[in-house]
């Protein structure tokens, strides 16, 4: 029944027996215990489950775990070094880029993929880059501010303050 999945999650190599129908998001949450990746809509629209697959943002509810075989996955837990914050996390905090926080891990992972390609995105480019993510609280204005602030911090190479 199970098939072997070999994958690197947040830098750690793993090998697990999984059912073919297991979705990547459930593998991350239930097998790996990484519950920072959220299940939002279950219809592949909201983007709360966004993770990086070999550097590209993907919706982990819209992939089979076995399709990640051989890949490197980064979840919100793996974005910053242990005990620290990534500039995006700091910027979301400082700019109040969240209210309830449910969508935040997905926004941060999608923004991380965007900033890897575009170091200085315009408002329009941020909007386009995050169009696969939904937020029901903020109205997006502070999210956009946060992504701009993070982009600037990353360009300036500012070290993320430990623990905020």
């Amino acid at each position: 029944m199970g098939q072997t999945l070999r994958v690197t999650v947040n830098g750690e190599g793993r090998s697990d027996e999984v059912e073919p129908r297991l979705l990547l998001v459930h593998y991350l949450r239930e097998t790996c215990g990484l519950t920072g990746t959220h299940v939002g809509c279950d219809t592949s629209q909201c983007g709360a489950c966004t993770v990086l697959l070999d550097g590209a943002a993907v919706k982990s509810c819209n992939m089979l775990a076995l399709q990640a075989d051989g890949a490197e996955i980064t979840t919100i837990e793996g974005l910053a070094p242990e005990g620290g914050l990534h500039p995006l996390q700091t910027a979301f905090w400082e700019n109040h880029g969240l209210q309830c926080g449910y969508c935040t891990p997905g926004f941060i992972m999608a923004a991380a993929a965007l900033l890897a390609e575009n170091h200085d995105p315009s408002d329009e480019e941020i909007g386009r880059g995050l169009e696969g993510n939904l937020c029901r609280c903020t109205g997006y204005v502070n999210i956009r501010k946060a992504v701009k602030a993070a982009a600037q911090a990353m360009r300036e190479g500012a070290a993320a303050p430990i623990g905020g």
């Binding site: 592949s44 993907v58 992939m63 399709q67």
Partner: protein
């Protein structure tokens, strides 16, 4: 929701994929990017016995110019089409369409071939293929786009047949695709595509029927010297669009005309 159980195998080549499909029988399906299929599995609207994963078929991930044709491999992802300099140079309308598929996460996974095999009435590339007389190449034959798309979610593909490549004519001239939708990542409620060729305008419509439509009446009016508004007035001729929660058939007929006019004006 959790998909119903299925068997799963990976193919590393076209030959392997077809052999696995044949062995797994008529209830097997191909999974490429899976961005349309996995939602259907989760809702259990689709319950295949076996999935043959073709993501490892690297031989189908390419963009090759050849003479005045652009050959695009079925496993080319939307995000690759958006960025490809070859696509931007030889068929920029394809890149423009690719940039409007879903959202960045979906574009990172979804494939050109998957769109053709899935044959959703709201798919974007089928419109381009039909209006430009593209050819779909499978593991065993070549099929003209107008014969490939037969009905909603129904193509000329046999159960064990794999889309390998789509061959488009090069078309670097004026072009535009306007996709009318309520939210950025949505499917088209209606879409209109126009492309200026040496021989005249080509015009195609998305989601105004079970398959993509070439708006021949608009093309011939343009050929006869009609203005853009006059020509676009023929965009709804002969259409029998669906009515659904997003739009009535009448509204879709209206959109077909308005979007065709806008696309022509913006392309020229």
């Amino acid at each position: 929701m959790i998909p119903a159980a299925f068997q799963y195998s990976k193919a590393g080549s076209v030959r392997e994929a077809v052999a696995q499909l044949r062995e797994a029988g008529p209830e097997a399906k191909v999974i490429a990017g899976g961005q349309s299929l996995i939602p259907l599995l989760r809702l259990r609207l689709s319950q295949p016995s076996h999935l043959v994963d073709v993501n490892g078929v690297r031989e189908l991930d390419y963009v090759h110019p050849e003479g005045d044709l652009l050959r695009v491999g079925a496993m080319t992802r939307h995000s690759t089409l958006v960025r490809s300099e070859l696509v931007q140079r030889h068929l920029p309308l394809l890149a423009e369409m690719a940039a409007q598929v879903g959202d960045p996460q979906i574009r990172a996974r979804g494939t050109l071939g998957g769109v053709f095999a899935h044959a959703d009435a709201a798919g974007d590339y089928p419109t381009l293929a039909v209006m430009l007389d593209a050819t779909i190449v499978t593991d065993r034959r070549r099929v003209a786009a107008r014969d490939f798309f037969q009905h909603l979610f129904t193509t000329a593909l046999a159960e064990d047949e794999l889309v390998c490549e789509v061959v488009f004519p090069m078309a670097p001239g004026p072009h535009r695709y306007i996709k009318f939708r309520r939210r950025l990542y949505d499917w088209a409620i209606v879409g209109a595509a126009v492309q200026k060729m040496d021989s005249g305008w080509r015009v195609g419509l998305t989601h105004v029927g079970p398959t993509a439509v070439r708006a021949a009446a608009v093309e011939s009016r343009l050929q006869a010297g009609a203005t853009f508004p006059e020509a676009a007035g023929a965009a709804a001729d002969g259409l029998e669009p669906p009515s659904d929660v997003r739009a009535s058939a009448d509204y879709r007929r209206h959109l077909a005309q308005v979007l065709t006019r806008r696309a022509l004006e913006q392309a020229a």
